[in-house]
C-alpha cells in the first residue's frame, strides 16, 4: 500500500513538473510570432479494486496540445493577406500621386504657365522678352513631362524588382513548407507530440507570411501535410513537393515583369486577375489600375500637346518671315507589340492621332474579305478590304478611326483576330526644338511681322478639346488623370484601413484564444507549485506511515 501511495505521489510530482515546464515554455514564447500557448492533457490512470471499491492510481500527462482554432487562424490570415495587398497598393499610389502633383504644382502649373507665355507673345508679338519667356516656359513644361516620365518609369522598375524579389521569397517559403510537411509527418509517426507542435507553429507562421506575399488557399491533407495553392488555385506546394515561382515579361508590355509559376515543364504567367491578394496582388493591381493607364494618358497628353503646338507653329511665320519649324522636338512613339488571338501573321501598329487614341485595347478581325477594327465596347472604328497576305496602307492608314496605322506581314486567313493592346506610351526626352526666340512663328503671313494671328491660334489650343475624341482639353485631360488616380488611392486607403481593423480584430480574437497571458501563467506557476508541494507532502505522509509501521515492528 505504501508503494502505491508513493507511486501515485510520484505521478503527481511529475505532472506538476510537466505543468511547470509547459508554463515556462509559454512564458519563454510570450513574444514568439506564430506561437500558440500550450497546455498538458492530463488523464487519470486506472483505479485498483480494494475490495470495498476502487481507488484511483493517479494521473498522467498524455499529450501537449496547442490552443489552435482553425477558424480564427483563417480569419487572421485572410484579412492579413488583403491588408498586405492594399498596403503595397497604397504605398505606390501615394508615390504616384505625389509625382503627379496636384492643385498648383508640377505639370498642371507648367501647362498653365506655358499657355500664359503664348498669350504674352500674342499681346506683343515682336517682343524678344515675351518670346524668350515662351521658350523658357516651354522648356520647363518639357522638363516637367520628362521628370514625371522618369518618376513613373522608376516606379515601374521598382515594381519589377519587387515582383522578382517576391518570387524569390515565395520560393523560399514554399520550400520551407514542403520541408516542414515532411518533418511533421515523420514526427507524427514517431509520436513526438511536443516537437510537432513547434513545427506546426512554424509552418502556420510561414503560411501566414506567404499569404502576405500572395493570396494562398491551404488544404490540410493530414497525413501528407499542407497543400498550398496561390492566386486562383495554382498549386505551389503539394505535400513535400514545391513548384517554382519565376518571372516572365508581359507579352503585351515587354517592360513589365510578371510573376510566373513553373509546374513541371510548363510555365504559366500570372496576372492581376489570377493573383488577387497579398503584396504581389497589390503590386499587380496598382500597375494595371494606376501606373500603366497613367503612362498611357501622360504619353497621349505629351503627344497631343507637342503635335498640336508643332502643327500650329509650322503654319506660321517667324520674325524673319520664314515658315515656322517644330517648337517641340517631335515625340517618337513606340507602340507595344500586338498579340495574335488566332492566326500567325504579325501586325504592326503605329500611332497617328493622339485625339483618337484611347487607353482601351482594340481587336483586328478578318472575315475573308474585310478587315475590321473594333474597340473594347465592340464598336467598329475602321474597316478595309485588303489581300490576305502582306499588306500595309498609308493613305489613309488603316486604323485611322482609332488614331492608329496598322500593317501586316504573313498570311491572314478568314476568322483570324489580333489584339492591339492599350499602350503604355512613354514620353522620352521631350525638349524644345528651337533656341532662337525669333523663330517663334507668331505671324500668319510672311509680310506682316507684327501680325499675331498664328500665335493667337496657338494660344487658343488651350481651350480646345484636343484629346479623347475631341471631348477634353489638354489641361482637363491632366486634371482627369490626377482625379482618377486620387480616387483610386483614396479607395485603396479606405480598404487598407478597413482591413487593418479587421486584421486587428481577428488577431485579438486569435490571440485571445491562442496567445500567452503572463498573469495567467504566473497564476499557473503558483497553482502547479502548490500541486507539487502537495504531492511531495503526500509522499512524505506515505513515508511517515511506512516508518510508523517499521518502528512498530520489534
Amino acid at each position: 500500500m505504501g508503494t502505491s501511495i508513493l507511486n501515485t505521489s510520484l505521478m503527481g510530482l511529475s505532472i506538476a513538473q510537466a505543468n511547470v515546464s509547459t508554463t515556462a515554455n509559454n512564458i519563454a514564447n510570450v513574444n514568439t510570432a506564430g506561437y500558440h500557448r500550450e497546455s498538458n492533457t492530463i488523464v487519470t490512470t486506472g483505479s485498483q479494486s480494494a475490495g470495498y471499491g476502487y481507488i484511483g492510481t493517479g494521473a498522467a500527462v498524455t499529450d501537449v496540445t496547442r490552443a489552435y482554432n482553425g477558424f480564427l487562424e483563417t480569419q487572421v490570415t485572410q484579412n492579413q493577406g488583403q491588408l498586405s495587398s492594399y498596403q503595397a497598393y497604397t504605398q505606390y499610389a501615394t508615390q504616384l500621386n505625389a509625382l503627379l502633383g496636384s492643385q498648383n504644382s508640377g505639370l498642371a502649373a507648367a501647362m498653365s504657365d506655358f499657355f500664359s507665355s503664348i498669350q504674352n507673345v500674342s499681346s506683343d508679338p515682336t517682343s524678344t522678352v515675351a518670346r524668350q519667356a515662351m521658350l523658357g516656359s516651354g522648356a520647363n513644361l518639357a522638363t516637367q513631362f520628362n521628370n514625371l516620365n522618369d518618376g513613373l518609369n522608376s516606379l515601374s522598375q521598382g515594381i519589377n524588382q519587387q515582383v522578382q524579389s517576391t518570387a524569390t521569397q515565395i520560393n523560399s517559403f514554399a520550400q520551407n513548407i514542403a520541408t516542414l510537411n515532411k518533418q511533421i509527418a515523420v514526427m507524427q509517426s514517431s509520436g513526438n507530440s511536443a516537437s510537432v507542435n513547434g513545427l506546426m507553429d512554424q509552418r502556420d507562421a510561414i503560411v501566414s507570411q506567404l499569404n502576405q506575399l500572395v493570396n494562398v488557399t491551404v488544404t490540410d491533407q493530414q497525413g501528407s501535410g499542407y497543400n498550398v495553392a496561390i492566386g486562383n488555385g495554382m498549386p505551389l506546394v503539394n505535400g513535400t513537393q514545391a513548384n517554382t515561382m519565376t518571372v516572365a515579361s508581359n507579352p503585351l508590355a515587354p517592360t513589365e515583369t510578371m510573376p510566373a509559376l513553373k509546374i513541371g515543364n510548363s510555365t504559366i504567367t500570372l496576372d492581376s486577375t489570377q493573383i488577387t491578394g497579398g503584396q504581389l496582388g497589390g503590386l499587380l493591381s496598382f500597375r494595371d489600375q494606376m501606373l500603366s493607364p497613367s503612362q498611357t494618358q501622360l504619353g497621349t497628353l505629351a503627344y497631343g500637346l507637342t503635335a498640336n503646338i508643332n502643327a500650329q507653329q509650322t503654319k506660321g511665320f517667324d520674325l524673319s518671315g520664314t515658315q515656322g519649324g517644330n517648337f517641340f522636338s517631335p515625340l517618337s512613339v513606340t507602340m507595344p507589340p500586338t498579340k495574335a488571338l488566332t492566326g500567325t501573321a504579325t501586325i504592326t501598329a503605329g500611332l497617328t492621332d493622339p485625339n483618337k487614341m484611347t487607353s482601351a485595347a482594340y481587336t483586328l478581325g478578318y472575315d475573308g474579305t474585310t478587315y475590321t477594327l473594333t474597340d473594347s465596347s465592340g464598336k467598329v472604328v475602321d474597316s478595309t478590304t485588303q489581300p490576305a497576305a502582306n499588306w500595309s496602307t498609308s493613305s489613309p492608314p488603316f486604323g485611322a478611326g482609332a488614331g492608329l496605322s496598322l500593317s501586316a506581314s504573313g498570311t491572314i486567313v478568314s476568322g483570324d483576330s489580333y489584339l492591339i493592346p492599350a499602350s503604355p506610351l512613354k514620353v522620352s526626352n521631350l525638349s524644345v526644338a528651337i533656341t532662337d526666340p525669333s523663330k517663334i512663328a507668331a505671324a500668319s503671313t510672311s509680310t506682316a511681322l507684327n501680325d499675331n494671328a498664328n500665335i493667337l491660334a496657338m494660344a487658343g489650343l488651350q481651350s480646345q478639346s484636343l484629346l479623347g475624341n475631341s471631348t477634353v482639353t489638354l489641361q482637363n485631360a491632366f486634371t482627369q488623370l490626377v482625379g482618377q488616380n486620387a480616387s483610386l488611392e483614396n479607395g485603396a486607403t479606405s480598404n487598407q484601413k478597413i482591413f487593418q481593423s479587421l486584421t486587428d480584430q481577428a488577431t485579438q480574437a486569435q490571440q485571445s484564444f491562442s496567445g500567452v497571458n503572463l498573469d495567467e501563467e504566473a497564476a499557473h506557476l503558483i497553482q502547479y507549485q502548490q500541486a507539487y508541494q502537495a504531492a511531495a507532502k503526500a509522499m512524505q505522509t506515505a513515508s511517515t506511515l511506512f516508518n510508523s509501521i517499521l518502528t512498530a515492528m520489534p
Binding site: 492643385q103 498653365s112 485579438q508 500567452v516
Partner: protein, 298 residues
C-alpha cells in the same frame, strides 16, 4: 475576454501611434494652411481645385491682356484726340481764309498751316514706348508715312489689324491705320494742306481753289477720324466691361478655391488640443498599466 500579453502591448502602442499621426496631420494642415494635403484626401475637391487653378491662371492672363490693351487703346485715343484737335484748327484756319476776302490773313494762316502739318505728320508716324509705329498696320520697324518734297504722302504700312484675346472666345482689335483720314475720298489730305499753305504763302492765284479743296478734304478727314474714334471708344468700353467681369469672375473663383482648400483654423486647433489630450491619456494609461503584473507579487 482573455488578453494576450503581446496584444496588450501592441494595441497600446498602436493607439499611441494613431494619435501621433493625427496630430502630425493636423499640424501640417495648419502650417501649410491647406486642408488637402494630398489629392487622395478628397479626389473630387482636388480636381475642382485644379480646374479652379486653371481658370484663375487664365483669368489672370486675361487681366494682364486687358490691361495691355487698355493702355494701347488710351495711347491711341490720346493721339487721335490730338489729331482731331490739329485737324479742327486746320479746318478753322482754312475757313478763315476761304473765299480770299482778306489777303492780309494769308501769310499768318500759311504759317499756322505749315506748323500744324508737321504736327499731323509726326502724329501719323507716332511710335509707342517700344518704338513701334502704331499706325503701320502689322509692319514692323517701317515708318508708315513718308512725305515727298511736293507734299505727296505715301503709305508704307499695311491694312492688317491685330487681335488680342481678352476672354475665352473673345478677341479685341488693338490697332488702326489712318488711311481713311490721310486719303479721304481718294485725295491726299496732307498734300492738299501743303499745297494750300504754299499757295497762301505766295498769295498765288491758285490759293482760293487750293484752300477750298483742302477745306473740303479736312472736313471729310475729320468725319472719318470721328468714325475711328467712335470705334475705338466702343472697343475701350468692351475692354472695360470685360475687365469688370473678369475681375468678378476671378474673385468668385478665388473664393471658391479658398473654401475648398483653406483650413478652418478654429476647429483644427480645437481638434489638435483634443488629440493631444487623448495622446497624453493613452501614454499615461500605458505607462501605469504596463507596470501591473502578478510576477511582482511572487
Amino acid at each position: 475576454m482573455r488578453i494576450s500579453s503581446s496584444v496588450f502591448y501592441s494595441s497600446s502602442v498602436g493607439g499611441i501611434l494613431d494619435q501621433q499621426s493625427s496630430i502630425a496631420r493636423l499640424s501640417q494642415q495648419l502650417s501649410t494652411d491647406n486642408k488637402l494635403l494630398s489629392a487622395a484626401d478628397d479626389p473630387v475637391a482636388a480636381t475642382q481645385v485644379m480646374s479652379l487653378n486653371n481658370q484663375i491662371a487664365q483669368s489672370t492672363q486675361y487681366a494682364a491682356n486687358l490691361q495691355n490693351v487698355g493702355q494701347i487703346q488710351s495711347e491711341e485715343s490720346t493721339v487721335l484726340s490730338q489729331l482731331q484737335k490739329d485737324l479742327t484748327t486746320i479746318q478753322q484756319t482754312l475757313s478763315g481764309v476761304n473765299g480770299g476776302q482778306n489777303p492780309s490773313l494769308n501769310t499768318p494762316a500759311s504759317a499756322t498751316l505749315s506748323g500744324l502739318l508737321k504736327d499731323v505728320q509726326s502724329l501719323a508716324n507716332y511710335q509707342d514706348t517700344n518704338g513701334n509705329y502704331i499706325f503701320a498696320g502689322l509692319q514692323k520697324g517701317v515708318q508708315p508715312y513718308s512725305f515727298a518734297s511736293g507734299g505727296a504722302t505715301s503709305y508704307l504700312g499695311d491694312a492688317n489689324v491685330r487681335q488680342v484675346q481678352i476672354a475665352q472666345g473673345q478677341t479685341v482689335q488693338v490697332n488702326d491705320n489712318l488711311q481713311t483720314v490721310m486719303q479721304p475720298n481718294s485725295g491726299d489730305l496732307l498734300q492738299a494742306i501743303d499745297q494750300a499753305s504754299s499757295a497762301l504763302a505766295s498769295n498765288a492765284p491758285t490759293a482760293p481753289a487750293a484752300v477750298s479743296s483742302a477745306y473740303s478734304m479736312v472736313g471729310s478727314a475729320l468725319g472719318n477720324l470721328q468714325g475711328l474714334q467712335a470705334a475705338l471708344a466702343a472697343r475701350q468700353s468692351q475692354v472695360q466691361n470685360q475687365q469688370d467681369y473678369n475681375s468678378q469672375f476671378l474673385t468668385i473663383n478665388q473664393n471658391a478655391l479658398s473654401n475648398l482648400t483653406q483650413v478652418d483654423r478654429a476647429s483644427a486647433i480645437v481638434e489638435l488640443q483634443q488629440r493631444q489630450t487623448s495622446l497624453q491619456a493613452a501614454e499615461s494609461a500605458f505607462a501605469s498599466t504596463s507596470k501591473l503584473s502578478v510576477f511582482n507579487y511572487l
